[in-house]
Structure formats: C-alpha cells, structure tokens
C-alpha cells in the first residue's frame, strides 16, 4: 500500500539541505524573497494595478492598503537624464534595466548550483503626472463597474500577469544577444516611429540581462575566493563561468541551459511584478533534451548529476511563495501558483515525444515532493504503455498530487478550432494548471475573465434582478410564470446568459485596454514571437496569437438547475413555476421536502444521462461559441472559452441565490466541468462520458476535471493496469484534462458527518466496493482506519 508522499531519502545531501532551507522561512533571516517595491520617487508614482488582481476577490478590500504600503516601502531608483522625455515603454524598460543591474540584491545560497534569488518586485509604473491622471480615471471607473458586477455574483475579471509560455527555447539557442540582433533588424524594417521606439525599449530591457547575470558571476567569484572547501570552490567558479555566458550567449551544456532558463524566467516575474502565477515553461523535456543528450553522449554529464542539477533548479521556483511567508503558515503548501512544466505528448510531427529526460523528470517529481514547478503530463494515443504505467505509478506514489494529465487528441482539437496552425497545435504547451496555448507566441490570459454560469438562472426567475439586493442586473426576459414550455425557459436563460456575458466582456475589454495602453512589458515581449515584428507589446496584441480566456464557473449547477425545471415544472408538472420561484426566494426555508426532491430526484449531470448531459452541452456550446465572436476592441484579442474555475465556485456561492437543483444560497457551485458535489453516482466511467459529451472543442483553453479514487484502485499491478486503460479511454471519450485525487481519511470523516454531499463516494476495499454513505458507522470507522493506514 502507498505511503504518504514525502521527499526521497535518496536525495543528495546538497539537495536535502537546499530543500529544507526553503521550507525554513522563519529561520532564513539572511534571505527572504519578499516583495521589493521600487519607485521613480515622484509624488504621483503608482506601483500597483488593481486589474492585475481583479480575479482575486479576496483582495478587493485590501487594494487601497496594498497600494499605500508598497509606495511607502519603496526604494527610490536614480533615473537617467531624459527619462521623462522617453515613451512609456522605454521608460519602463530603462527602469527595469536599472533595477536589475543595480538594485535587485544578489544572493547565492550555500551549495546552490543554479543561482538567482531575488525576483519578487513591485516596479514603478513610471507614469508621468498626466498619464497617472488618465490611468487612474480609467482604472477606478473600471474597478467600480467590475466590483458592481461581482457583488451581484455575475463575474470577476482583470488583466492578469503571468499565464504564458515564453520562448525559452529561443534564449537557449540564440542567447539574448541573438534576440537583440533580431529585434534590431526588425526595428530597421519599421517605418512608423512608434514601432521603432517600441523595439528600442525591447532592446534596452534585454541589455539589462547581461549585467544582471554578471553580478551573479561576480558574487560567485567572490564566494569562491573565500571558500575553503575545494569542491565547492570549483562549483562556484563553474557557476561564475556560466553566469558570464548565459542568458546572453547561447547555452551549450545542460547546466548552462538550466541556468539560462532560470534567469530568463525569474526576470519575467520581476518585470511583471508578479510572483509566479501561470508563468510556464512549456515543453521543458523537449527543448532541454538536446543539451542533456549531448552532455551525456560526450561524457560531460552523468544521469545522477543531471538529476541533482534539475533538483537545484526545482527548488528555486518555490521561492515565489516567500512573498506570503509571514501570512501563510506553511508557505508553498497553502496555495498553488502554477509555474507549469509540460512534459510528454507528441512531437510536431505527431510522433511520441517522450525521451530519456521525460523519464528522468518523473523521478525528480517523485523524489522532490515540492509544489513548484507544477507539472502537466501530456498523454496521447502514441504514448507507450511503459511510460503510461510509469505515470500511474507516480500517481500512486504521490496520491495523484504530483501533476495533471492533459489529453493530446482532445486538447489539440480545441486549439485547431480556435485557429492555431496544425504545427503549433501539436506543439502546444500548458499554462498554470491545464490551460492550453501555443508556445512562445500566444498569451491567452487564462484566468482573466470568470463569469458565473449559474447566475443567469436566478436572473430568469427574478426577471433580471439580483434576488438578495433587489438591484437590476440585466433587462427583463419576461415573467417565467408565463412561459408555456421548457423551450421558452431555456431561451430566457440563454438571453440572460448573453446579457451577463456581454457585460462581462465589456469590463474585461476595459481592463485589457488599460493595461495595454499604460503598462507595456518590453522585457517579456522579447520572448514572445510577433512582438518585434509588429512593434507591439505582448499586452497589446503583439503575439502571433491573441486571445483572452473566459473561464466558465458553475456549468453543472446551471445544467442541473435547467434539468430540474424541465422535469418537475414542464415534463412531470409536479410543481408550478410560482411554487419554485417562491421556494427559491425563501432559500427553501420551510420547504425542505421540495428542496430534497429537486436535489435527489432530478437528473444530474455526471451520470451519463442524456436528459441533462444534453442541456449541459447546449449551455457550454452556446456561451463558448458566443464569446468567440467577440474581441477586445483596443487590443484585438479574441475571447475564447475555458473551464478552469479556480476557486470562484466558492466566491460566487453566497452571491448566487438558491438554484432549482436544490442548492441553497452559499453552497458551492460546481467546479470546472465537474458534476455538482456528490451528484455523480455511476462511477468514473459515467462522469468521463458526461464530460466527453460537452463537445469541448469549442473550449480551446481546456476544462478542469478531478476524479477521486480509493487507494485500493491502484494497489497492485493488475489494478494499476486497469487504471492505465481508464486513462487511455479518457483520451478517447473524455475531456482535455484530468487530475487524480486519492480519497483520504479526512474526506471520509467529513462524509460521515455530511452524507448528503457524499452520496456518490465509493470506497474500495480490495475486492469489494460500496457507497460509503450507506455503510453503518462501525464499518465506516473501520474503512477510515484502513485508509489512514494506507496513505
């Protein structure tokens, strides 16, 4: 039986030390990667944009406080002459360059082989007085409208940083030097002054990387001089050599390549003043493999040392969590950022892409037991049985928590649907958790826009008003009491949904516009194909592909609600619309029997039941096809659908009235493309089929699905093989992405207390399975004890 996932005893002493050091935030007085604010020193300076955090409603109340404290803590940066005469992009590039060349501290931890420590910043927006006025007027107006719509549970949105796969491969192959030369050529080709100026800002930003890396080389040399341990001295001198070379020059060895990627990566976080979310590596095992292979073949590198280097590289990512070290109790465990690494899958030519490095990375993942970098494993029809079994073993060992699985055939279908070239679609990378994008040429803003799909159900029943506040949210769609058929009801739902979506996209477009207009990030643009060619920022439609992703929340809640109305009001006529509306307005108070009936006797999405699965499909197709017809006017970025639903199924819960599926106000909405909690009762194959019926090609971002299994489902070779074939079948009949959870003792204890929410929980004790909720307490206790033993 599996043991609780923990770091491997086999890790080297160095890696053990560095790993423990990271987890010792409170003892690390000599180094904490906390936010460092930098200012131009003007009275009107701004270091914080609300739209960067518009998707974190928990923060809304703290916006003003954060703005003020960052400004009051900020270090003043000496500005060169002429600074205020430059364009906004150039000012920001100069400021960034100055900060990384002179102000951002340099720190090498004892034993490190991959260096680069401080990257958490809050950089000045470098506004002129005139700009700040215009910016603030637009930003505050946008915020007011967005918060108004959030307060009534329609949506949240912003223009969020990170969430991109930059072109790290290019840095490895040509170095920033090569990229600079390329941009210079592009600049010469531009006739418009604005474009030439923009290219100039990119070049300035790039130039900063050279000096930045040199500072680490100098530090390493300094340390080497005082180092008594000969072995460490040698290592430091090698680190110094590498830092003098990359990321400016192309990388030639595996060690150089890792260092180059880390510098490039950490500087994006510094440039965007955003510690990590969704800044993703893309297909790491693909672009790193040539360096690995060459070093191994030429005898420069052993597999063991390659693994140790990767482990050093691994630990660095986790320092993103330091910014909340004094807030979170266990930093790095309470939250997940998603500096995602994509491995496995197929090549551009459609062949199995798994290589020796992919296998080695699985060992690193298993052994390290760390949250970052997050992992997403692409599984395709071409994936070998051996590799799939290795992945299943890792799922067993790590209780499923080590990675998400992405299914190539279903994912690629969506990317082709949104217009990616076949080559780009096959070579897709994954951002954050499961969000599919092209690599190095696409920023799809994957958590920018988060609408509540269940809210329009309430708005149909209340004819456009928020039930809690009585405020008008949308225009009338008619008194539901007068609807003669389910079709009329459904039509009203879609009209309300369209209205909500219209308002949502309008607000999202505004956030997108403000960011594009006032806050260019030339450094990141150098790593995204299209920006130099177009002379445009990555935030302003520069990339080859330009999308903003709309992540629908509460799909199953909406579908189950419509299905319950269809069945009880129109098909069976067991209740009237008046009764239903009254009950919902009263939050089912005094109407528990009606609520139970709606909750237990209506068809529920997730059971392979076409009655309700077809409704879910209609909803999904309707809104995803609708948003795809819209673009953000200022940047031209096209809206596309997705189902990530982060944690908004919680945030929207109190803001959404009771729903016709028997849900009370405050009960969580459904998450991703998951069934409503506890409502899938036919096991994993039925849930998978329900997801497959949604027709997810209109959801190019991909959709989140989590399935929980008992540890007994994976306990021996025979069961592991069955599980592997379940994954194979998922690729054929399921969705785009899957996360495996192991049922843990805590879940079972909770299920004992609240059986209604866990009606679907099947426990397996070798050779036997049963619905947990239907077992007697005594047996339940035994199973809890057994699972506690197992994990």
């Amino acid at each position: 039986m599996a043991k609780m996932w923990e770091p491997s005893e086999e890790l080297s002493d160095r890696v053990k030390k560095l790993r423990t050091e990271y987890f010792s935030f409170y003892d690390r007085e000599y180094f904490r990667n906390e936010v460092m604010p930098f200012t131009t020193g003007t009275d009107w300076d701004q270091l914080y944009s609300y739209h960067d955090w518009g998707d974190v409603p928990e923060l809304f109340n703290y916006f003003a406080g954060i703005t003020d404290s960052l400004k009051s803590m900020a270090i003043k940066v000496d500005l060169p002459e002429n600074f205020w005469n430059e364009s906004s992009a150039t000012r920001r590039a100069v400021f960034f360059k100055k900060v990384i060349e002179e102000y951002l501290p340099v720190k090498i931890l004892d034993g490190e082989l991959i260096v680069g420590s401080y990257f958490s910043t809050a950089l000045s927006k470098c506004f002129t007085k005139k700009e700040v006025k215009k910016w603030w007027k637009e930003e505050s107006k946008w915020l007011k409208e967005m918060m108004r719509l959030h307060e009534v549970g329609v949506m949240n949105c912003g223009a969020i940083s990170g969430h991109i796969v930059p072109d790290y491969k290019k840095v490895l192959e040509t170095g920033f030097k090569g990229i600079k030369e390329e941009i210079e050529k592009q600049m010469e080709g531009h006739d418009e002054e604005a474009k030439r100026d923009y290219c100039k800002s990119m070049i300035i930003a790039i130039e900063g990387t050279k000096r930045f890396a040199e500072r680490y080389a100098e530090e390493a040399e300094q340390l080497a001089e005082n180092e008594k341990n000969e072995q460490r001295k040698k290592e430091l001198l090698e680190v110094a050599r590498i830092c003098r070379k990359v990321p400016w020059e192309p990388a030639e060895t595996f060690h150089e390549a890792l260092q180059s990627v880390w510098f490039t990566h950490m500087l994006i976080m510094a440039a965007e003043s955003y510690p990590g979310p969704g800044l993703s590596h893309g297909r790491f095992d693909q672009y790193m493999y040539p360096y690995y292979k060459k070093d191994i073949e030429e005898g420069r590198l052993t597999k063991e040392f390659a693994k140790e280097l990767l482990e050093c590289f691994w630990i660095k990512h986790n320092y993103a969590y330091d910014f909340m070290g004094f807030v979170g109790v266990k930093q790095g465990i309470t939250s997940g950022f998603g500096q995602l690494m994509t491995i496995g899958g197929i090549t551009k030519e459609g062949k199995d892409a798994v290589n020796e490095l992919t296998w080695l990375l699985l060992d690193v993942i298993d052994d390290m037991n760390m949250l970052e970098p997050k992992r997403n494993i692409r599984i395709s029809k071409k994936t070998s049985d051996e590799f799939l079994m290795r992945v299943c073993e890792s799922i067993r060992k790590t209780q499923g928590s080590a990675f998400l699985l992405n299914f190539d055939e279903n994912s690629i279908k969506g990317l082709l649907w949104e217009g990616l070239s076949e080559e780009d679609a096959m070579d897709y990378g994954v951002v954050g958790c499961l969000e599919n994008t092209a690599q190095g040429k696409d920023r799809s803003g994957t958590v920018d826009v988060n609408p509540n799909l269940a809210k329009p159900v309430e708005l149909v029943l209340s004819n456009g008003r928020d039930m809690l506040t009585g405020k008008r949210v949308t225009s009338k769609t008619g008194s539901p009491e007068k609807f003669l058929s389910y079709e009329e009801f459904e039509k009203a739902y879609f009209e309300q949904l369209d209205q909500c979506m219209g308002k949502t996209l309008e607000s999202a477009s505004k956030a997108d516009e403000i960011r594009a207009k006032y806050e260019p990030t030339p450094y990141l643009s150098t790593l995204v194909e299209g920006c130099a060619e177009k002379g445009k920022d990555v935030r302003n439609g520069g990339p080859i592909y330009n999308f903003i992703t709309v992540e629908g929340v509460g799909l199953a809640t909406a579908a189950d609600s419509l299905a319950a109305v269809k069945k009880f009001v129109y098909d069976d006529k067991q209740i009237t619309m008046e009764e239903l509306i009254e009950a919902i307005k009263d939050n089912f108070e005094g109407k528990e029997n009606l609520r139970r009936m709606l909750s237990t006797k209506a068809p529920k999405y997730g059971n392979d039941d076409d009655y309700v699965d077809s409704i879910a499909r209609n909803i999904s197709r309707h809104w995803t096809e609708e948003v795809f017809t819209h673009t953000s006017p200022y940047t031209g970025r096209r809206f596309r659908g997705g189902y990530l639903s982060w944690n908004y199924f919680i945030d929207f819960a109190p803001l959404t009235a009771a729903t016709p599926d028997g849900r009370l106000r405050g009960t969580y909405l459904s998450n991703g493309i998951q069934p409503v909690q506890g409502k899938d009762k036919k096991g994993p194959t039925a849930v998978i089929r329900s997801a497959g019926k949604l027709g997810l090609e209109t959801v190019p971002n991909g959709a989140s699905q989590v399935i929980a299994f008992s540890s007994a489902s994976l306990e021996d070779e025979e069961h592991l093989k069955k599980f592997a074939s379940l994954l194979r079948a998922y690729g054929e009949v399921g969705g785009t992405s899957l996360m495996i959870n192991m049922i843990d003792p805590e879940t079972l204890k909770d299920a004992q207390k609240r059986p209604e929410e866990y009606d679907n929980l099947v426990v397996r004790v070798t050779g036997y399975n049963a619905y947990f909720a239907t077992l007697g307490k005594e047996i339940q206790d035994e199973i809890i004890a057994r699972e506690s033993h197992a994990v």
Partner: protein, 332 residues
C-alpha cells in the same frame, strides 16, 4: 438447517426453474460500472436477483430473493412521511428505531419510493428488457476496449434467469463484448448448455468440497456444482475459480487443499484461482433488509493466513493463485 431466514420469495430448488423467469425480462438489482473485481479489465457487472443457495456468509443478501425489495436509508430520511401516506398496504411505519417495513405486507409496488422527496427509500430490483440493458452496458465500450474488459453477470445467481441471458448474451457477442458469468454453479447443466457458446469466461465458485457441510452452510448440492465445473472445463471455456475464505466455514487447510487438488485434476480450463478474504461491508445491508446475519460479529482473516492458503494452493500444483480482500489490521 438454513441459517439465513427466508425473506420475500426465494428460489425453490424443486420447481422447474424456467417457469420462474419471464422471457426476455431480467430482474436486476445493480448495474455497476467501472467494476474492477469481476474479471479481466474494466467491466460492468450486472447483478441479478434470485439465488438457489442460501450461504450463511452471503455478501449480497439483496440478491437472494427473486422479487424487488424495499430498503430504507436512515442518513437520507427527512421524516416527510410521504411514504407512509401513499402506502396502500400500510406496510410502513416510522418509529424511533427507524423505518419499520412490514415485509409481509409490502408488495414492492414502489409508490413510496416515488413519493419520498429525499430518496431515502429504494426499491432493490428492477426489470430490464434486453434492449434496456444493452443500452446501459454498451455505454462503456471504450473502456472495455482499452482494458480488455467487458460485461460480467453476477448476483444473486445469474444462471437462474437463463431465458434473459439467452436473449442478451448473443447480442453482446454480436457487439463483440467479452462476457463473463459469475456463478455458484448450483443450477442444472441444461441451463449452461443454452448459453455456453456466448460466454468467454466463468467466474466459478468452489466454496466447500465437503458435501455435508456444503448442504448445511449453503443449502445446495455440491455434486451438481462440481459436475458443472467439469463440464465447463470439458467445453474448454476459461474459468477463474473462486473460494470465499469465511472464518469458521471455509477457512480450513483441508478445504483449500481439496479444492486446489480438484482444480488441478479436473479443471484444465481454469486460468487462475482466487481466494477472497471474508469482508463485513455487507452488514448494513442485512440490517436494511431486516435480516439477521449470522456472521455479524465475525472477525476478518489475517494476512498471514491468506498467504498460507495461497501457498497451500500453489503446493497443490496451481500456478496462478491470488488472494484479495480486507485483512485484519495490525493491533486488531
């Protein structure tokens, strides 16, 4: 001596079985998808009602009777009493100790189930025609294909509903689905003959070889079972032989040794031998059916003992022996 009380209508071994089942309709109490314990690969197990045996240790007491039976779930009940109101037979009464179902009066009409707002009452047993069942089991075809799985008929005893099987099995074969029958073997050979061409695998129970004990603990005729096993083997249909290891009943060396030798000598088509450790998860089902379970206080078997039995079977010449099921925890 039968230790399991008769509830509802049960199969009477002396009657002609065929008249007991309605042509082309199956009485089924569960269609369980993603079933991983009843044969190779990912399967759907169709649990059919009615059994010719009454094993003291029966794990699926709801499979004994051929008729639908009412079950009540305390955790779901909201005391709406709608069920009591609609029951024509006055068979229901909610007491402080829970719902009392007068099983003599209950006709299994299911009106109370419909009336209950909370889903606290469930009628165990539903009739399916072949098309309905096929529609359900074919849904997971992709999963069968990827895992070399298929459909297993269990129960109860599926062979009792031979007319229905004779209707469904050829259709499954036509659809190229792997079919397994999980049987206690205690039905006349002529039943097997009618479907044997459509079966890919028999999960065949050999519980006890001692005729007397077999009769006492299960109410059946051991010779019928062993004869059928030999016949199936002579038809060269693959078999997985299964023995439930029940403390105090089947868990003696002689029994396992005897069964193993029997397999070794007589069942050339047997591919593996499974030893299934006793488990007590069915306890609440007995309560819900108002049945007393002789083994409610029985302890789980120790892991070492299961290993020991496995070794005995292997020593008797069997090559593929597996054991599964919950075993005693440390300190238990």
């Amino acid at each position: 001596m039968l230790k399991v009380p008769l509830v509802g209508k049960q199969f009477d071994g002396n009657k002609d079985l065929v008249s007991e089942t309605r042509k082309s309709e199956g009485m089924i109490f569960n269609v369980q998808r993603y079933s991983t314990e009843d044969g190779p690969g990912i399967r759907t197990t169709v649990f059919m009602k009615g059994c010719p045996l009454k094993c003291i240790w029966c794990q699926n007491p709801e499979g004994l009777s051929t008729e639908p039976e009412l079950m009540w779930y305390q955790t779901r009940c909201v005391a709406a009493l709608e069920c009591v109101k609609v029951c024509q037979e006055e068979a229901l009464k909610l007491t402080e100790d829970g719902m009392r179902i007068d099983r003599g009066k209950c006709t299994g009409c299911g009106e109370c189930v419909k009336a209950c707002p909370a889903g606290a009452l469930e009628l165990i047993g539903k009739t399916y025609n072949a098309e309905e069942l096929l529609d359900e089991v074919l849904r997971d075809r992709a999963f069968y294909d990827k895992s070399n799985g298929g459909v297993t008929f269990g129960g109860g005893e599926p062979m009792l509903q031979i007319d229905f099987l004779e209707d469904v099995l050829p259709k499954l074969k036509e659809a190229n689905i792997h079919v397994a029958i999980d049987t206690c073997g205690a039905v006349p050979w002529k039943y097997f003959e009618r479907i044997i061409d459509y079966v890919d695998l028999f999960l065949f129970d050999l519980k006890l070889l001692d005729e007397e004990k077999f009769r006492e603990y299960t109410g059946g005729n051991m010779c019928l079972v062993t004869d059928n096993a030999r016949e199936i083997s002579s038809h060269k249909i693959p078999m997985w032989i299964r023995t439930p290891i029940i403390p105090g009943y089947t868990d003696d060396k002689e029994n396992i040794e005897g069964i193993s030798q029997f397999i070794n000598r007589n069942l050339a088509s047997a591919q593996r031998y499974d030893l299934l450790a006793f488990n007590n998860m069915c306890k609440s089902k007995y309560g819900r059916l108002d049945m007393n379970w002789e083994l409610k206080h029985a302890r789980l078997i120790g892991k070492e003992r299961m290993e020991e039995f496995k070794k005995i079977a292997e020593d008797a010449g069997l090559s593929t022996v597996r054991w599964s099921g919950p075993t005693k925890m440390e300190g238990d």
